[in-house]
């Protein structure tokens, strides 16, 4: 299934200042948690592809949600409907479903991107989902109504209190992780993931986190994107062994 695709862009929408949602005209059989390696330019500056998670997917559609942070994402944001996008994928591991009927999903900032498809997947599987969405400010709670619609319970936290609680999203999620017999999923900044992993470990929940790293090949060949594995003198590759890992495997918690 792994392949090089040239997909037509059917929509390129700003969803907040500095954030874009890109809709492509064909599905690539991706699962929630997987990503694609996007070629932002036909030239060699930037030289490497850019990894972007699958935000949503269907037979006839692939959706990406991304933040414009540097040259690559700026070039991506400059592409217009009608143009094509060269991408590799689907790549990497996906969020596994478990036998638990409940799920706690924790999103931090743009880490929400892959969790949309996860929420859809969990809902389709009939799970009860508590979704905790944290961001710096209200504007960065991207597509909040769409996320809200997919969750059984929906809570928001912002650093500045402009929406939801003025709290760390992990503190907001802690009671749910403590009390629900749920599988825990998280994507966001590293300190957030560590705290979610710590909570899940403490309350005995299985927990899956999606990690980021600088990639080069994206297919497991270059060994550039590794993270250390708990308790072993070994590394695992974010691009093929991840990006979704069992929290206990990658965090010393």
């Amino acid at each position: 299934m792994l392949k090089l695709h040239t997909l037509k862009i059917i929509k390129q929408e700003p969803v907040a200042p500095g954030y874009q949602r890109l809709t492509l005209a064909r599905g690539i059989a991706a699962q929630a948690g997987q990503f694609v390696q996007v070629r932002a330019s036909e030239t060699f500056d930037p030289f490497l592809r850019r990894p972007i998670s699958v935000h949503d997917a269907a037979e006839d559609r692939l959706v990406l949600l991304y933040r414009t942070v540097g040259r690559g994402t700026a070039l991506l944001a400059a592409k217009k409907a009608g143009e094509t996008l060269d991408l590799l994928g689907p790549l990497g591991s996906s969020f596994p479903l478990t036998d638990r009927a409940q799920a706690v999903v924790v999103a931090g900032g743009i880490g929400a991107a892959p969790l949309y498809y996860l929420l859809r997947t969990l809902k389709r599987a009939g799970k009860q989902v508590s979704f905790f969405y944290g961001a710096r400010t209200e504007a960065e709670l991207l597509l909040r109504e769409e996320y809200r619609a997919l969750a059984t319970n929906y809570s928001e936290a912002t650093d500045d209190g402009s929406a939801g609680s003025r709290a760390l999203v992990t503190d907001l999620a802690a009671p749910a992780i403590a009390s629900l017999d749920a599988t825990v999923y998280a994507c966001g900044p590293s300190p957030m993931l560590k705290e979610v992993a710590r909570l899940a470990d403490y309350y005995g929940r299985s927990c899956f986190v999606s990690l980021e790293a600088q990639l080069a090949c994206g297919v497991g060949a270059c060994l550039g994107c590794v993270v250390p594995v708990r308790g072993q003198e070994k590394y695992r590759r974010v691009c093929v062994d991840g990006p979704v890992f069992a929290a206990g495997e990658v965090f010393f918690c």
């Binding site: 060699f44 030289f47 490497l48 600088q214 090949c217 994206g218 297919v219 270059c222 550039g224 994107c225």
Partner: protein, 303 residues
């Protein structure tokens, strides 16, 4: 399209560069590996090696830095992967790394009976491999002695991979040739670094890393030209090749074959596309074989 290097007969002059193509399996979903002239696998050491801590990568303008640190499963585990590559009936060249002559020999001892293994590429140019305080690949005497020793350890072809981080690459090339090398590979990566100004520290956990990609092509091409003027044995040229035009530059500079490294990451089809591009170029320009363009720019230059 066939070329002969170090006694090997390759169906075409294009192969992936070591460390950029794993043991082949990662790129097998993209194209039929038998379309390659050869497969060059990841640097293999006697014992398993965990490699350097992350971050190991940094992007640079027109290229990238890597400090993988020779992560590999070790020679014994590599056997299986090399045998698995036989299904593509493409010559397998094993890149051999070590921290001492004994370690290089140990790799050869473990692998030498594999008929799937067509040749060794001896990596004496990894920035982390030291010998007597100086990097291995930078002292002609050390290089000649190492090659001589390995020459006795195997009957398979020995390709010596040279470092570009030297004042005079021809001196090292001559030493390798005198030591009994069948062919040379060049260039390995240029030693570089990057600083993260937000974190105010070097990007790579290893401080320095190897620079590769189109950024280094002019340096690689110059060294291929110099070395193919200095020694008789064939050279596999590499460093920044991204398409058939680049590959033809290396062939015209004197390389008998080419390897493609970092460009695989940008375009996983770069190797087969380069094979086809060279084929078209030869046909359109009335050349009957790759051999006819090897060193062609040198002949024109000497006129």
């Amino acid at each position: 399209m066939t070329v002969k290097i170090a006694g090997l007969s390759l169906a075409n002059p294009v192969m992936p560069a070591s460390g950029c193509f794993g043991y082949g399996e990662e790129y097998a979903p993209f194209f039929d590996l038998s379309r390659l002239g050869a497969v060059v696998v990841k640097g293999t050491t006697a014992e398993p090696c965990a490699g350097n801590p992350p971050p190991r990568l940094a992007e640079t303008t027109g290229g990238m830095l890597n400090a993988i640190g020779l992560q590999n499963p070790g020679a014994a585990a590599a056997r299986e992967k090399i045998v698995a590559l036989q299904q593509w009936s493409v010559p397998v060249i094993v890149n051999v790394s070590g921290h001492s002559a004994a370690q290089y020999r140990a790799v050869i001892e473990v692998l030498d009976d594999l008929s799937a293994l067509a040749a060794y590429e001896i990596n004496i140019s990894c920035p982390n491999v030291k010998a007597g305080g100086m990097a291995f690949g930078t002292d002609p005497a050390v290089v000649a002695a190492l090659v001589r020793e390995l020459r006795c350890a195997t009957k398979k072809p020995l390709i010596i991979k040279l470092s570009p981080n030297v004042t005079d690459v021809t001196a090292i090339a001559r030493a390798a040739a005198e030591g009994g090398a069948d062919a040379l590979s060049l260039i390995n990566t240029l030693l570089g670094m990057a600083i993260d100004i937000e974190r105010r520290r070097p990007v790579l956990a290893n401080l320095t890393g190897g620079l590769s990609g189109p950024a280094i092509k002019p340096v690689a091409l110059r060294m291929v030209w110099q070395v193919t003027s200095a020694v008789e044995i064939p050279v596999i040229g590499m460093g920044g090749i991204t398409n058939a035009r680049d590959a033809i530059e290396f062939l015209m500079a004197g390389a008998s074959a080419v390897a493609i490294g970092a460009a695989n990451f940008t375009n996983p089809l770069v190797c087969p596309e380069t094979v086809e591009g060279i084929r078209s170029y030869l046909a359109e320009n009335g050349f009957a074989s790759v051999r006819e363009i090897v060193g062609l720019a040198k002949k024109e230059w000497q006129k």
